[in-house]
């Protein structure tokens, strides 16, 4: 088995996904299938090869430091699931 159910649960927590216990073994098995596929990468020697993030040799363009746009709060917060007095709301967080 390329991965254990416990490890799958750890990964799920990192990704904030919860896996129903009754489905864990199937999820693990299918996850494992994908890992088997990608483990193929172990068979190629890439020493000295620079990793490629973007396919072309472009460099970052810079934007002038100018304020653009105005208060868009109303339009953007129209999609908010919970809001009050201009704040997005989440269950109380204790630090």
């Amino acid at each position: 088995m390329p991965i254990s159910p416990e490890d799958v649960e750890k990964v799920a927590l990192l990704a904030r996904l919860s896996i129903v216990q009754s489905e864990l073994s199937e999820v693990t098995e299918r996850f494992g299938r994908v890992l088997e596929l990608v483990n193929e990468l172990n068979t190629i020697d890439t020493s000295g090869v620079a990793p490629m993030s973007n396919p072309h040799d472009m460099v970052q363009r810079l934007r002038p430091d100018v304020v653009v746009g105005d208060n868009e709060r109303e339009a953007l917060m129209a999609s908010a699931p919970a809001q009050n007095q201009g704040y997005f709301l989440v269950p109380k967080v204790i630090d």
Binding site: A15, V34, L41, M58, E72, A78
Partner: protein
């Protein structure tokens, strides 16, 4: 308007008809809306229909046409894949997570086509968050292939391809991260183009894998794709990965001349794994091009077989981060009565995302996690460069590269669900093109037992013209691209 000819007319012909006022945009739009109404119940290709808005836009286009102030696309209707944010119009990305999401902005592509005067009929169904090759992962239900309603249309732009093949619109937009325009185009018998990475702006397109995603046109001909691409392409300062390249009039570059065109035939694509019937059709298409003066050249892309492993590390990894913003806080699905913050996250995401999306997020998170980054993510980025190098070397001796778009024709629903990898293999010929950031298109190459098969053409970076022109040549010499499903029969 009893004549169905305008529904099948090319962009150039439609433009002429509209300019001559032989038909109005409103009439055209109504006709397509009627077609959607007629067939969408069964095909489920369109998720949101914008009848009122479309008519209003059509009337505005008619005014513009009357003024003589029209672009070649003015007044022509289209459907957008539901991955393009559309101001004021629900954009779901095929997911429960965005079931009721109404963007406050247009994607750049949407704005550009709007500015050209196109009329948006609605939003097309798709695999959830663009993850899939059969349009079976959509929260809004599967899309049926108009050629055979028991079969998938391909994915993730399955709704777009099906709608186009069913004549619900003359032009549709799609996105392609690993084959999501080309493979459904192949399975539905239409022409679809994935431009060079950076050719078209990604701003406002819901991100799946940022370094692989690209938006492109799907149409019934290479010529129509060329018109659309010209209007879609161009530098966007709001997208840092958008390339500063002049946009030619792709349509006017279609000379149809392929004399001396060197077409690379990679032996890795034409090995024993290739379905013999697919091989036959693809070779038949290539023979056509040879007759027209092209030269077939044997080439090698030695690391082709690593493309799928590379893609299934990089795409899920980028996606795992791109989808982290869906947390039930500022927009999108939120679970009922979250007890605390962690509950909010866990339930909103687990309830909002479907199985395939969750699987890819897990794979991607794993590939980036401590202890695995070097072996998976970094390694995959290295192999990406190796694969790109293969193409670069090959293009030293050829102008374009050809092969099948997909391993077979459209398959029945559920046929590839038992093993996620079986589905992933659908994109075996298309994935490498996204890894290398090159342009690729699929053009129809006939039917196998009544089901479409596609020829894929891959070009050099920013050389969409050459592959469009080759497809155009093929479409001048054959009529495969004109085949249409007899919907009244297939959907009876």
């Amino acid at each position: 308007m009893g004549d169905s000819a305008p529904l099948n007319a090319s962009v150039s012909d439609l433009h002429q008809l509209l300019k001559d006022r032989a038909i109005s945009s409103e009439e055209l739009t109504s006709a397509f809306l009627k077609r959607i109404d007629q067939f969408n119940g069964q095909l489920n290709a369109v998720v949101t229909v914008c009848s009122e808005q479309a008519i209003a836009d059509a009337r505005r286009a008619d005014e513009r046409l009357s003024r003589g102030d029209a672009h070649v696309l003015t007044g022509i209707p289209l459907l957008h894949k539901d991955i393009f944010c559309t101001l004021g119009v629900r954009t779901t990305c095929g997911s429960r997570m965005l079931e009721n999401f109404i963007p406050a902005y247009d994607a750049t592509v949407v704005a550009k086509l709007k500015a050209a005067g196109m009329v948006m009929l609605g939003k097309c169904n798709m695999d959830e968050f663009a993850m899939g090759s059969s349009n079976e992962t959509s929260f809004f239900g599967a899309v049926k292939n108009p050629w055979d309603p028991n079969c998938v249309p391909g994915g993730s732009s399955g709704g777009s391809a099906a709608a186009l093949a069913a004549g619900m619109a003359p032009l549709v937009t799609g996105t392609d991260t690993g084959g999501s325009i080309r493979q459904p185009a192949s399975l539905c018998g239409v022409t679809g183009l994935k431009p060079t990475y950076g050719r078209v702006s990604r701003l406002g397109i819901i991100a799946f894998a940022s370094s692989l995603d690209q938006a492109g046109p799907m149409a019934r001909s290479a010529a129509d794709c060329a018109h659309m691409l010209t209007a879609m392409a161009g530098l966007d300062a709001g997208d840092s990965t958008s390339a500063d390249r002049a946009v030619p009039d792709f349509f006017s570059e279609l000379t149809g001349d392929v004399d001396g065109l060197r077409i690379g035939i990679p032996r890795e694509y034409f090995n024993d794994d290739l379905n013999p019937e697919v091989r036959e059709h693809v070779m038949s298409a290539l023979t056509q091009l040879e007759k027209a003066g092209a030269q077939l050249v044997d080439i090698e892309l030695p690391h082709s077989h690593y493309a799928i492993a590379t893609y299934y590390v990089l795409a899920p990894a980028e996606a795992s981060a791109n989808l982290a913003r869906y947390d039930g806080v500022r927009f999108g699905y939120r679970c009922d009565n979250p007890s605390d913050l962690e509950d909010l996250y866990l339930r909103s995401r687990s309830e909002g995302f479907g199985e395939e999306v969750q699987r890819r997020i897990l794979v991607g998170t794993y590939a980036l996690s401590a202890g695995f980054y070097d072996a998976y993510f970094n390694k995959a980025q290295q192999v990406r460069r190796v694969i790109s190098e293969d193409f670069r070397k090959a293009f030293q001796s050829v102008d374009i590269i050809a092969g099948p778009s997909a391993p077979g024709v459209a398959f029945p629903f559920g046929a590839k669900q038992q093993d996620p990898v079986a589905m992933y293999m659908e994109d075996i010929y298309t994935l490498a093109v996204n890894l290398a950031g090159l342009p690729g298109l699929s053009t129809p190459a006939g039917l196998i037992n009544g089901m479409p098969v596609g020829l894929q053409l891959i070009g050099k970076a920013f050389d969409e013209s050459t592959i469009l022109n080759a497809a155009h040549r093929l479409q001048l010499d054959t009529d495969w691209h004109q085949a249409r499903p007899a919907l009244e029969d297939s959907l009876a």
